[in-house]
Amino acid sequence: MKCVIEGNGVKVFGKAVHALSRIGDEIWLDPLEKGLAVRTVSSSQSACACFSFTPLFFQQYIPDPDIQKGCEAVKCKLNMKCVLPLFRCASWRERSVDRCEITINIPNSRVIFQFHCRHGTTKIYNLGYQECEALHAVFPAHLCPNVLMAQSKLLGDIVVHFPVSQEEVTLCISSFKVTLKSFCEEENNCIKGMNTELMLHPDEFDCFQVGEDSAVTFCLKELRGLLSFAESYGLPVSSQFGVAGQPVSFTVKDMTLEAHVVLSTLTDPNLESPSQPAPGGVDEQILALVKHNSTLAVRIKVVFDLSLQTSSFEVRSSKAEEPKEQMWAPSPCQKQKTQTALTPASRKQPPVQ
């Protein structure tokens, strides 16, 4: 893969890398025919982010000379700590870089970043990469009952009220209002710390669609990167989500790029049995991940129990019929088990309760 990004685009690319660095420690470069996807997954696999740059973004974009022949382009996994310093947003760097070329050198297993700067100076970084399948969240956003779209400035003004240390927030939606409040896991902490709650009128949103009243709790820290990216470029942010326990997705779109962040949410703590610890902590929930392997296609199906008692998931190999593993036994006090699979193959409408 070879691509060339000119001046301003380097700044945008750098900000995208910064946004991704707020989520994961590793970064994937996935050259596709439709553009370059830059992805990351949080270490707990509770958040997935992807910035897709269309060929329009680049001065030149050559995914792979062999891609037309059906060979898959190489997917590179790099350490975020190695890539982030290259795009440190110092003001001098923004002024001085004319052009950036990114090349994937397959024989040497190196990704080469070449920055052509003012005064003729050139900075060349040869970084080693691991060839690794791309992980991405499969999330049918069109199935989500609730959709919100707001200007990034509004969201920026909202999140500034939450302290940087605030991990999780709860987003509640009803026909009349939207509330964003800080979330604390233990009741004791709520008394000691500062809690913030903001209420918004539906009119403040560019798009306000409520299919189902709900309250979803997700990690705000992981979202801040995308929000600051959107605010830098004045782009609106749209969000699709359902009820507690279903992932929430945030999207920023432009002519030349598209950014998605998918975050897992906590299951509703009010309906949990006190005897059993919550299986659906943010760190434990797993989004549907479709992993393609040349020898074995493994499909991980995530099952969210809509009665909000448990989450369980099955790992099913395409060759075997029986599920290979079952994590988390169903709760003994669940009454009715309904299943929703978040995979592309079986798209069922969630039953209305």
Partner: protein
Amino acid sequence: MPLSTQSQADIDQYILIASLDNARNLSNILKAISFRDHAIFNATQNGLKVTVEDSKCLQANAFIQADIFQEYIIKEDAVGFQVNLTVLLDCLTIFGGSTVPGVCTALRMCYNGYGYPLTLFLEEGGVVTVCKINTQESEEPIDFDFCSTNVTNKVILQSDSLKEAFSELDMTSEVLQITMSPSHPYFRLSTFGNSGNAHYDYPKDSDMMELFQCTKIQTNRYKMSLLKPSTKALALSCKVSVRTDSRGFLSLQYLVRNDDGQICFVEYYCCPDEEVEEE
């Protein structure tokens, strides 16, 4: 000024007296070479030369010419002594880092000769401090034998461009490799760290390149730990000259402008780390 109330007898016994209205004109430049505790002072009619060495591989010199000082009296051809540089810098900045414009520390540095301490009279806002720092036997600084005739490659760059590179250098790399060549890549700084290699190329026709005289390709490696202290001097300077000789020894010379716009020089000499096959 209170410093001038010293008696004539006191003044007569000193073999070296150097006075500055702004002690920062000395302390700033000494900070640029303060990577070790001990410094060798060598004062001549021309001015003051301060040398700091590290493990016989690195030497830094700061030159403060006589005309920088408001008063410079030397009664012998050469006066040499060794002092603890850290202590000296602490004394020079004893009134703290005053950033109020117009307020600065005045200095009179006096030395009686062999066996006597170095005496500093410092004054700011009417308050006088007297510091006496014990001196040690002056060691002979290493002669790196770096003379102009042996220089194979020389470039002079504006410091700004190198400041960028040095601030970003991959510190996981043990060495800094400097390549100088009459053809591409002309002047290249390379690091070899945990994440991979990085190269900083400066073409000979760059705006930042003031002088480019390279006769043959030379690639030399220097220990990063030895060169790291030179970034202090680089930060103060406006121009830097980089020279290598036939043995691969490196000379970095920094042109530093002090608070009053006067010019001082700092130079670093460094031994190469290992023999690298020339391409």
